[in-house]
Amino acid sequence: MDHEASAGHGHEHPPTTIRQYIIIGVILAIITAVELWVSYAGLGAIEIPLLLIMSAVKFGIVAALFMHLKFEHKIMTRMFLIGIVLATALLLAVIALFWNDATDNRVLPDRSESSAPAH
């Protein structure tokens, strides 16, 4: 693993061209537009998973291509993944703990009258 590479520090550039970067930017913009459409379309049960998947795809595109993770030494990906995976896991765990909290007996206001669902 050590000293395998004097390559990769600074002098080798990712192979992406300006044209390709712009195409990636356009793709990102298109996905955002689709997201917006989905949030207004009222697709029912698949709406939230769909939105989450699209935002994850955008996240992945930016990380892999704009942040050059695809072309970097794998140590960078590993380091970043530690943070992403742990943050996601803890987020899910905390949410699961709170959203299934049988002991939470606070009385929340009934808002079925005052405000209809947002969209």
């Binding site: 590479a5 520090h9 300006i18 930017g25 709406e47 942040m67 970043f80």
Partner: protein
């Protein structure tokens, strides 16, 4: 230039630059920072005792515009990195400037949004939505602000006679990592706060 051989970017165990590695590990740490803020937001989602409630005041078209601005700033940032790596200094400076302006535009949107919400009666202490929303988006905005300062320093540095030195590509690349990260965090926040219905 025998002295150049000791430069900290060289002779590393993995052949990668220390500063870039530092930035990536720092970003891993930042994931936990924003992860906790987002967790808090989600824990208190729908737990506000009094209004204004998010569905009543969030302006999705407006924020879509600011989201688009930040997304495009990622594109200009990556083109600045391209310019730095290929020695096209004009491209680099132009794109750095564009990124800075787009970042400031995003901040302008946020300032407007915060003031607007304030007029509608949503303050930090109003309800759980206000507290979690302002804290999360506020810290994101702070990160954008720090990023703007970071890029302005690079731009000024590149104007000096010595430019950014022989490690120009690395400086801009590392700043770009930070900038893109702030962008991807917004991708997540935008989805969770604005797009997913209450």
């Amino acid at each position: 230039m025998a002295a150049a051989a000791h430069e900290s970017g060289h002779h590393t165990s993995l052949g990668v630059d220390n500063r870039k590695l530092l930035m990536w590990i720092f970003l891993a740490s930042e994931c936990l920072f924003f992860g906790t803020l987002i967790s808090t937001y989600l824990v208190f989602k729908g737990q506000s005792l009094v209004g204004p409630f998010p569905g009543e005041i969030l302006d999705i078209p407006l924020t879509s515009a600011s989201t688009f601005v930040l997304l495009m700033s990622s594109l200009t940032m990556v083109l600045a990195v391209y310019g730095a790596q290929h020695g096209r200094l004009g491209l680099m400076r132009g794109m750095l400037l564009a990124t800075i302006l787009l970042g400031l535009t995003f901040l302008g949107f946020q300032v407007y949004e915060f003031r607007h919400f304030g007029h509608l009666g949503l303050n930090l202490g109003t309800n759980q939505f206000g507290a979690t929303f302002y804290l999360m988006t506020g810290f994101h905005g702070t990160h954008v602000g720090v990023g703007v300062l970071y890029l302005i320093s690079l731009l000024i540095g590149s104007m000096r006679r010595s430019g950014l030195g022989k490690e120009r590509a690395l400086w801009v690349d590392t700043a770009g990592l930070y900038w893109h990260f702030v962008d991807v965090v917004w991708i997540v926040i935008f989805t969770i706060v604005y797009l997913i219905p209450e």
